[in-house]
Symmetry: C2
Subunit: 196 residues, 2 copies
């Protein structure tokens, strides 16, 4: 069975793996394809799988009582995503994950992952480092949300993730950055005016 090499590359970049371990990891994951606008997880579902994106683009978001959507994360090739709380504690998912493009994922469920952890301590280490890094990134996002204006947040994000900016619709970028679509439009207008 063909399996995309990106996953092993990705893990191997942080921890050493033997050929046999690579093989064990590879067979533990299965592939899943999603069409654009298809949901991977919907609010209320159990998020049974941890997913790694090999191609495409998704968003995870939650909807508040007023029906307003807030995007928690975008994920493109080489990114992991799932509802961690649902996956870790076996609770219903509090948010939705939707494909923004046709997407291919590699998935693993919790029992299979626990088995891998047992056989391959290096994998536990990999995820320790991965979550530690994610933690650092999220702290930066909290600081940005608290201390920066909407324009600064947009400029910083554009500089850091230009690829995502041109792949997702503008109103979803606004929902990620914590502002309204109208206001982001005005910010962009303002920036364009300054340049000339």
């Amino acid at each position: 069975m063909y399996m995309h090499p990106l996953l092993i590359q990705h893990i191997h970049a942080l921890v050493p793996l033997t050929r046999e371990e690579e093989e064990q990891i590879t067979v533990a994951f299965h592939q899943k394809k999603l069409k654009r606008r298809q949901f991977l997880v919907q609010e209320g579902d159990a998020s049974r799988f941890l997913s790694f994106v090999t191609s495409g683009c998704l968003r995870s978001y939650f909807t508040n009582d007023n029906g307003q959507e807030y995007i928690i994360q975008f994920a493109i090739e080489g990114w992991w995503l799932n509802d961690n709380e649902s996956f870790l504690f076996d609770t219903p998912s509090t948010f939705n994950i939707e494909a923004l493009e046709d997407t291919v994922l590699l998935q693993i469920d919790k029992p299979a992952l626990e088995l891998l952890f047992k056989n391959i301590p290096q994998l536990e280490r990999f995820f320790r480092i991965l979550y530690q890094r994610s933690f650092i990134m999220l702290q930066k996002r909290v600081i940005a949300a608290m201390s920066q204006t909407a324009e600064q947040r947009y400029l910083d994000f554009s500089a850091r993730y230009p690829e995502i900016v041109h792949r997702v619709p503008q109103y979803q970028l606004a929902a990620y950055l914590g502002m309204t679509a109208e206001f982001l439009s005005k910010i962009r207008h303002g920036i364009a005016a300054k340049k000339s």
Copy 2:
């Protein structure tokens, strides 16, 4: 040498440990005491130690170009803290950690921690789970910062962490919640008025 049992209890709550492993962990940490207002880390320092609080209270915060302070985290008994980015990547710290009360910590440096990870795979698992949970909490904080009013954030925090609310000065709570001290005062005034 006396060592506070809270650390081992804390780890043991998530992963099993043998007596020997407990002993190994215990001797790897050393105790550090801080007086109120003393700094554990200052911006620009290398954050060489990972710290676990056995008593007292600290804050980690960063200062922006205008001199305004934003609190990233409070830590009381049973909490970990450090500048993860500085610790993980050996870069200068971007924020400060200050004791808000007389405080006792257990500390470990990176080489000693790596040695423990090598000898005790369960400890790597412990930190994987710890960072995963921290990640979940931070995602919630991002969502709160984006989607809730200042009053809602204050009420939610008060309900979840009443102990911290009464231990730290109000202006620092404001700096954690992402609002000015003046506005938090007005919020509290408004809530008191509603109740009567």
